[in-house]
Assembly symmetry: C2
Homo-oligomer: 146 residues x 2
């Protein structure tokens, strides 16, 4: 009486994994226009929301480790979008701040979420509802991991 083996399409994890790739492909031309990768875009969104954050603060919001963020932030710095500066009060911390160029990029960044609305054929309400469901799933998966 072993349970029947799950097929690919029965895996919720796979539909999530595949949807993440689909978003990446959809965003690719728009993000190329901004000169950003997708994780870089998320980092900029976090900084537009609150400037002058520490590396670990960004990591907590994006659920990413410093081993991922440090090189990513160096690339954003090389692109002239952010500055990386040690906090004088606590030299362990590195403060990430937007440059004028980085701040200005926000004006063009609305094209990213906009293209989801255009191409998915789903309404804002539908997208918001699904967003809440997936957020609840993530929280449920994270709870056990803690």
């Amino acid at each position: 009486m072993t349970p029947p083996p799950l097929k690919l399409d029965d895996h919720l994890c796979f539909s999530i994994y595949a949807a993440a790739h689909a978003f990446n492909r959809l965003y690719k031309p728009v993000l190329d226009d901004l000169g950003l990768t997708y994780p870089q875009y998320l980092t900029m969104v976090a900084l537009w929301q609150e400037d002058g954050q520490r590396v670990s603060s960004i990591g907590e919001k994006l659920y990413l480790e410093s081993s991922t963020l440090t090189p990513l932030l160096k690339r954003l710095e090389a692109a002239g979008l952010v500055t990386r500066e040690r906090d004088r009060a606590d030299e362990r911390q590195v403060l990430i701040r937007l440059t004028d160029t980085g701040r200005a990029l926000q004006d063009r960044a609305g094209a990213v979420p906009a293209c989801v609305l255009n191409t998915s054929g789903m309404s804002i309400a539908e997208l918001q509802a699904l967003n809440r469901e997936v957020q609840a799933l993530r929280r449920a998966l994270d709870r056990s991991a803690a």
Copy 2:
């Protein structure tokens, strides 16, 4: 009258992206036990469902390119789970077949989807319903990309 800038949590793409990472973290200990990474697990699921596929056939099912699959399949071959053999009828094609070890691994692989049920606190019906919604989202995003 520019639209207000979207915050991180307003992004459906981000909840999907973060949920994919959460699955990875949840699966990590179980997959370590099987000696597989997550994309390797998906590849094995595809082969358990249908043995003897070409590289491109696996790629179509997982939405992955040969540049991703070729090294991944070589690692599965090195682990003794699959064989890679050129089709004699058409030497361009490489047929991927399960070894006895690879087939046998399926018996222990049920632990992977099982741990979602255990830790998410969601019912099978809820997980299936969300799966269908996310699948529909992926299809909607893919349609425009074609």
